[in-house]
Amino acid sequence: MALRVSDLTVHYRTLRGAVKALDGVTFEVGDGEILGLAGESGSGKSTLGKSLIRMDGRMRHVGGTVELDGKELPIGDDGAMNRFRYKEVSLIPQYAMSALNPTRKIGKMVADLLDSHGVRYKSVEEELGRRLDLVELPAEVLGKYPIELSGGMKQRMVMVISTLLDPSLLIADEVTSALDVSTQKAVATTLAGFRNRGFVKSMIFITHDISLTHQIADTIMVMYAGKLAEKAPADTVVRAPRHPYTKALINSLPEVGVQYAERKLAGIPGSPPSLLNPPAGCRFRDRCPLAFDKCGEQPPAVEVAPGHLVACCKA
């Protein structure tokens, strides 16, 4: 297993108390696997992604472990994590358009970044050229400032930079949200291509767009209010979901596997509970059509079929 996350719990410190954004999440990602991470906005997807590479100042690692290629990641220790960042775990951020220093030539910035990791620019220059070629960027972009690139070019540039040192795990957080539909598809295809060529071993592809995830992910994990709801092979999640929340998500799509535009998750009435003081028991209870007495206790994630986890007492 490339990545093994056990019982991961992460809180945000706020003036009103701890926001329990990630509460005992356990899952694995295999070598060569693309895991699609789905769920409504606020369900904790970005928190999970950030926990695996760099927690922001307000996040606190409360419990649980993360193991990558058999080594435990010191995710709560910002200094110790530096050794793993970029080389082992890398990130394509949501803000690719503004991820590059506006006043530095791109090539120089890459050289500075590599230098931070003790890698000589010369030693990767050739490979960098090949990869730029692969995403159809001219080599001249390295001599340019970010403002001279179009949005799509910046997006591809960031994809190339983030994967240059062949990380074991790549986290792509909502990389397609800002793009139009055809570009979304191209970006997703490029990322799958990176995996196929071995630039990255495994990937967590975060999006609230299940139909896009379905196109590139091998496995889909659905989160709800800081907890895992369901995790299964992509086709199973889309065609035979078992968790009531996943079902509602899928039903809110016009047609499975077909592009949809606006409706997204509008089909589920109600909203997720506050994570400051989440209610005991199943967190979906208030919105669940199947809720019954037993749902007052937190349902554990059960393997209902090989590789198919569901956290619901009705499943």
């Binding site: 951020p93 590059l100 220093n101 506006p102 006043t103 970044l113 931070s116």
Partner: protein, 331 residues
């Protein structure tokens, strides 16, 4: 790019033209008659003599021709570098007075602006990284910039000059000495320079430091900083990038400050009776010397315009974003 600077030059030329015109108009259409003041100073009682003197001075200052002709003459004289005669220091030409005042203003302001800019930026960037420094010293900076400059200057003059007697209170050098290159005279110059310089340095330093600290914190929270940190870049690299980007707006600020040099530090020069351009302005106002005031203002306008033009040029050099935008616009 060429087009851009061409357009800028045109705008500057128009601004200059308008400023000169307004400058010419104000004293002529304002109440009060400087000539009468000059005549009154002579304390002549005989009405015939008064009339004669009036006529003489009107002719001397070129006020005895139609207004439009005065305006044309004004431009003609201006282009020859002739700013007229001062009434306050009659009959010294205004341009001579300005030329004499410039070295004092420059010697005061250039070191104060440049050093406070440099030190303030360094200190602000440093404070942004240390919580304890940020929490303890920053309030001092705020107090420093919030203090009315007048108070600070008077406080310095009172404590270090009057009470402690370490530095002289006023003027540029001791009147018991004749200006020369002797060590004694230079020492006197330096001693008289310290307090006005220090007062300017202190207020400007606080402003730069706070500005830099806020800019750095903003840059450190920018997306490009977060990206680098997520990819494990060394803290020093991220800070260097942030510093570089934060310095850009400070360069604009510096250039604007340099533009004000020509105006002199009015209050400083008044508090310490330091004979620079600001001191000239005070004298000109006190003695209703419109010609001197006009000359000084023209000089200031010219200085601000030149400084702005230089800023524009420098900015296109240091910030690739401006450069690219200009090239894009030119293409």
């Amino acid at each position: 790019m060429r087009q851009y600077f061409g357009r800028k030059l045109l705008i500057y030329a128009l601004t200059f033209f308008a400023a000169v015109t307004i400058n010419w108009m104000i004293p002529r259409f304002m109440p009060g008659d400087p000539i009468q003041g000059l005549v009154a100073r002579a304390q002549v009682a005989d009405p015939a003599s008064v009339d004669a003197m009036n006529a003489h001075y009107r002719n001397l200052f070129g006020l005895d021709v139609p207004v439009w002709e005065q305006y044309m003459n004004f431009w003609g004289a201006l282009l020859r570098g002739d700013l007229g005669l001062s009434i306050w220091a009659f009959p010294t030409p205004v341009s001579d007075l300005i030329v004499r005042a410039i070295p004092y203003t420059l010697a005061l302001l250039i070191p104060a602006i440049l050093l406070s800019w440099w030190a303030g930026n360094r200190f602000g960037a440093f404070a942004a990284r240390r919580k304890w420094l940020d929490n303890t010293i920053l309030p001092v900076g705020y107090i420093l910039t919030a203090t009315p400059y007048m108070w600070l200057a008077l406080l310095l003059a009172w404590s270090l000059a009057i009470v402690a007697g370490i530095f002289p209170v006023s003027h540029a050098y001791s009147f018991s000495l004749t200006p020369s290159w002797s060590p004694e005279f230079l020492g006197s110059l330096l001693a008289h320079w310290v307090l006005p310089f220090a007062s300017l340095f202190l207020v400007m330093f606080g402003g730069w430091a706070i500005g830099m600290r806020n800019l750095i914190i903003y840059e450190l929270e920018a997306d490009y900083s977060n990206y680098l940190l997520a990819l494990g870049a060394r803290g020093k690299l991220v800070r260097d990038y942030a510093f570089r980007n934060a310095v850009l707006p400070q360069i604009t600020g510096l250039a604007l400050q340099l533009g004000t040099i020509v105006a002199g530090a009015l209050v400083t020069e008044i508090v310490f009776s330091y004979p620079g351009i600001g001191y000239l302005i005070l004298q000109a106002i006190n003695s209703q010397d419109f010609f001197l005031l006009q000359g000084v203002f023209l000089f200031i306008v010219l200085g601000v315009l030149i400084a702005n033009f230089i800023i524009d040029a420098v900015y296109t050099l240091v910030d690739p974003r401006t450069r690219v935008r200009l090239q894009g616009a030119g293409a």
